[in-house]
Symmetry: C2
Subunit: 410 residues, 2 copies
């Protein structure tokens, strides 16, 4: 039963966040713990040993998701929390790690207070949420909740030309448990906002209403590589120039569309990438997001139509393929309201907001009552070594998580 | 003395071109023999052994240039020909190699005919003409002719973070001869046109009037890497977008300037180069060329001014530095006329034209009578595995080279 005075131990939680941030730490205070690398393995090992130390029943599934269960007084599906341990190449120390370690801090708090819950509790971390080495992102949670076939995920080839299956085996996390064998009664994820809204409005807790729809497109262009000095401008089939035009169009699209449309060209590569050679090949990625499903589709259509036009105009061959696509997600009104109520009960300021980023929680949303708790990101900075959230906000978020999980677990 | 009936042996020359093209051969019939790599070493070794086989007196200088001298009847500076053996990453089999092997074919022809010349003849190949691994390009010939200090060239760090000195030593071509110790009485280089003019006008021989001025600029941009989903468009400091705008400006500049202005963005890199991260850093190179020195300067000024404006507009830090710069070069009227005369005497069609590409010959132009002979490039294609010149055009060019060298050597 919930204890009105029960609180997480912020010093213990911060110490564990610091320890995990030491795995794959990079200059500037950031972390590079790309999915299924040696750093990911070390981070996973650290968290698994903490789970075992806390008495959880740990299972590893076939896509490398790890779930630790704290049995309740009754049988049945556990109330689940969790997030991911992988980061982008120049990531921060809170993105993902906070949700996992705060979940374990809730377990530690309940252990210390000798509290048994009616329903079981589970803390999970999911494979390759970031998608920085393997597309799509949220791979582990999507397989867990049945949105992505296991075999397809395992056969995915990444940036380093290895497959997910190979790399999982290499780091010792190609588990045996069937994916989704631990079903969730409900799912709540604590995460840093990664955007500027909470800090700007001086709000401590975000009750997340849902997630923007996301569309990732990879565009490949084949022109003709030729000499930079001797080829008249009119005779060029410059794959690089076509890529540049498409990248510029993406910005214009974001400025013209409604619905908080954003567009990002994160990758752009030329080949042969030599000063005095007109690029014969180019590739780039476009990340489109919108809270409105119809507007997101329209943005994709406009992009595809522009890509076709530029191919004709520049006399280059252009192909596009979808690397990942998620419709906008709506979280359970009951969980959103619960986050608001528990935050208010703790005397914390709270507001509803959508998530601009994709999260593991969205894989659960169609299958069980699901919600998220956001805490402020200083300057809205994330996917950057400077990512920061104040310890008092982390404490507030973890206490809201504690109370929401207790209410759900009964 | 010139023999009216003296002709080079095209079968022997083509066989040697084929053999050299086998060193560093890549798919599609092309060659990757980047300067100072293992492939470059193997190619150099092959040509040096051919030089020795032909009885030339071979010397290697401190920047790795190799000169083979065929002594004449009189003392004094030799009439020199030559070119380079290095290629771009996806290069063709004629660019550079033709000039070196045709020079050696002239020597072989004279040897077979038992002809002694009044002046000595020299065939040279120069280090790192392409500049694909180390900037600037034409490094060896520029050092040879006193336009670039030896120490500065040796200390140059390349794409692989090694210095020219280290890589020369590694492949065994850090020679002992002082650079330029073999001075040239005159210099003539046979090369493929690498552009479409001769083929388009159905002309066999180009009498090259000079070389376009070349300006290489590297632009580095520092913005702020951040999350692609949560960062509003208005709050971005997107280094990649600034790079894309600059690349697009380069094309506009080429279209607006006169004097056959060309502009090429051959390299463009984003960092961290991840789909869902706004690039915090970007770099690109711009290759500007113009036959008019004043117009080339104006193009550079307009580029610099735009770079400053984009830095302010996108709130990113932008720096630019010159990687290489050559004013337009004018070849000796006497040599240009000699090429025309000898081509006509052989019954070949000939026209004057400028070179769009930089060549080793331009390093010699300020110091001695210098000229170049062009032969047609099919489709104007070069710096590409599909680079091709018909054997009968190669034969024509090599015979013009033979007769021009004989006229100069007396």
């Amino acid at each position: 039963m919930p204890q009105p005075s029960l609180r997480i131990d912020i010093d213990r939680l911060m110490a564990r966040i610091d320890a995990l941030a030491g795995v794959g730490s990079i200059e500037g205070g950031g972390v590079c713990r790309l999915a299924l690398t040696e750093e990911d393995k070390t981070g996973r090992d650290l968290v698994v040993s903490l789970m075992r130390h806390l008495g959880l029943d740990v299972s590893i599934d076939r896509i490398g998701n790890v779930v630790g269960v704290r049995p309740g007084m009754e049988d049945g599906a556990p109330v689940m929390t969790g997030s991911h341990l992988d980061t982008v190449r120049t990531g921060g120390r809170y993105d993902g790690a906070l949700g996992v370690l705060a979940g374990l801090e809730v377990v530690a708090t309940l252990n210390d207070a000798g509290i048994d819950t009616r329903r079981s509790l589970a803390v999970a971390f999911f494979t390759n949420e970031e998608g920085a080495r393997f597309a799509p992102d949220m791979m582990g949670s999507m397989v867990h909740q049945g949105h992505l076939p296991l075999e397809q995920a395992l056969e995915t080839t990444g940036l380093d030309q290895t497959t997910v299956r190979e790399d999982l085996a290499k780091i010792g996390y190609l588990g045996h448990a069937p994916c989704g064998s631990v079903r969730a009664h409900s799912f709540v994820e604590l995460h840093v906002e990664q955007g500027p809204v909470l800090e700007r409005d001086d709000i401590t807790i975000g009750a997340v209403e849902g997630v923007q729809g996301i569309s990732w497109t990879e565009i490949s262009i084949i022109g003709e590589s030729n000499h930079a000095g001797t080829t008249p401008m009119s005779a060029r089939k410059d794959a690089g120039y076509a890529a540049v035009c498409i990248a510029r169009f993406a910005r214009r699209l974001a400025e013209q569309m409604e619905g908080n449309q954003v567009a990002t060209v994160g990758r752009l590569q030329l080949s042969p990438d030599v000063i005095n050679v007109i690029p014969g090949r180019a590739s780039l990625t476009i990340d489109l997001r919108n809270t409105d499903a119809g507007l997101l589709r329209r943005a994709e259509q406009r992009l595809h139509s522009y890509v076709r036009r530029i191919g004709k105009r520049e006399d280059v061959y252009v192909a596009h393929r979808s690397l990942a696509r998620y419709d906008p997600v709506v979280f359970a009104p009951s969980v959103i309201a619960m986050v608001e109520r528990q935050a208010t009960a703790l005397g914390l300021s709270v507001r509803r907001l959508p998530s601009g980023a994709g999260h593991d929680a969205q894989a659960f949303a169609p299958n069980c009552p699901t919600g998220m708790i956001f805490v402020p990101s200083v300057g809205g900075v994330s996917h950057n070594v400077k990512e920061h959230t104040a310890p008092r906000d982390i404490e507030a978020g973890a206490n809201v998580l504690l109370n929401v999980l207790l209410e759900l677990a009964g």
